[in-house]
Subunit: 312 residues, 2 copies
Amino acid sequence: MSPKLVIVGTVALDDVTTPFGSVTRALGGSAFYGSVAASYWTSVGIVAIVGNDYPDEGFQVLSRRAVDFRGIEKSLEKTFAWTGEYTYDLNTAITKETRLNCLLSFNPKVERYYPNPETLFLANIDPDIQGGILDSLPTRPALVALDTMNYWIDSKRTSLLRVLKKIDLLTINESEARMLTGEFNLVLAARAIRSLGPSMVAIKKGEHGALVFYEGGVFASPAMPLEVVKDPTGAGDSFAGGLLGYLTSHSHRSPELLKQASIIGSVMASFCVSDFGVTGTLSLSMDEISGRIREFGDLTGFGRIDYEERRL
Amino acid sequence: MSPKLVIVGTVALDDVTTPFGSVTRALGGSAFYGSVAASYWTSVGIVAIVGNDYPDEGFQVLSRRAVDFRGIEKSLEKTFAWTGEYTYDLNTAITKETRLNCLLSFNPKVERYYPNPETLFLANIDPDIQGGILDSLPTRPALVALDTMNYWIDSKRTSLLRVLKKIDLLTINESEARMLTGEFNLVLAARAIRSLGPSMVAIKKGEHGALVFYEGGVFASPAMPLEVVKDPTGAGDSFAGGLLGYLTSHSHRSPELLKQASIIGSVMASFCVSDFGVTGTLSLSMDEISGRIREFGDLTGFGRIDYEERRL
């Protein structure tokens, strides 16, 4: 059966150090994190490339989450590897080393493996590749989402602007939204982005949650205040995966559904950061997930505000 | 009639520059901002000191909001004056000059003017003065809230810790919560603060809203994403004023009421930042306020999340 949601992006091996520990060659990458998070909500296919050093464990994890990985190509090079560090300010990753390796020859053939996804998530890769994928599909998916980063905003702005015209939802970090638009104020930045193409923009603010702008409104999806945040790597991709998985599992579209999907994104991000790599999102029970959804209800719900006009 | 909420703090004349303009000798001060915001919800008395240069306009503003200002003493010195600047990052004020002037001889006599407030807000002043006020009252108010700042955490930690033991609610900036407790993680910082005395802690995060911690839970009170933020001065005091005014106008206490009060705090802060000084909060209609409350409902409400467990 063809998966409803297809995610194209990186599969990586990450060396990560945070104040709470470190991991080497941890399973990671934007498409990997996104797929695991989305797999709780809908059927997922992943398109990526790995090297000859990629461990079987990665495929086992995807199997366990029933992610269709026929779309992962194997290269004779090494796997894309990222080395990063976080200080106590867990909002900002410090990149120590990026070895692109096999990513340099990534030429994803989405149409070959999954020609008709309902939703396509073009996770963070070269915008020329993102655009090429969209052009190659026989029919446009009902929902196309895209993520990007400072590197592409800086080095491939024209290509990025070209692909932005064709998508429905952009997920982007706060600082990158400012960089892309030149607007410091996030309401103005979101408006500028929406004028470039996507009708929906999710601005990710790390521990401060996300603001999701859509036609006629904005939704504040908070981050769960957690006592233990071990590793923020993949939080943004888990957010996008949860959001898009939930949206894809529903046939209607409404602002209300988008808000619920954002909360599911925040739910998955909250599990992600609670441990290193995908450990936090890999084996959640529906009880754990529904418990966390209730916690988000408590975190944001305030009932009915009663007051009388005070006569002066 | 004796006011239900008494606010002790500064009344100031502020010179403020932001990327969107500047004002000189604007009516300001923690008690001033807090009183104006609270006045929409309950009866308010203010205790402060002003100098011989304080303009009549300040008293006219308080009159207009029916704030009882018998508790404002007049000194022969000049009024406390603050000069500050904001860059595009409106979260952080850069203090250019602080002239304490008459504030140096401030010796507030709360018990003389308003001996039995239901709620007492000790806005940001010397913690020795805050403690002295509490000790001087014949009966402890039902609710005592306090605000402080980095300067006092640094220079009068012992006095601050002494007064914290006696209060119910602390409002404090994110960076100051970290400074006070040595905990970077805000959940741990809030827990540490609660172990020092106050059962409720509102951690203010500027444009990212506030986290309100209480026995058994936490509430995320967002900031309204606004296209026009002219001047953040007084936002924290307007938040506290709205929160405490709303709480004081209700006789019961519950987590739900605290959440609603936090939203009212965010509502008043959102009006405050929309213009310089108290211009944004001075003459609101109940229609404007209830409209903004509805906007906060749209910003955070997400209805019921429906999903089925996905069988893998």
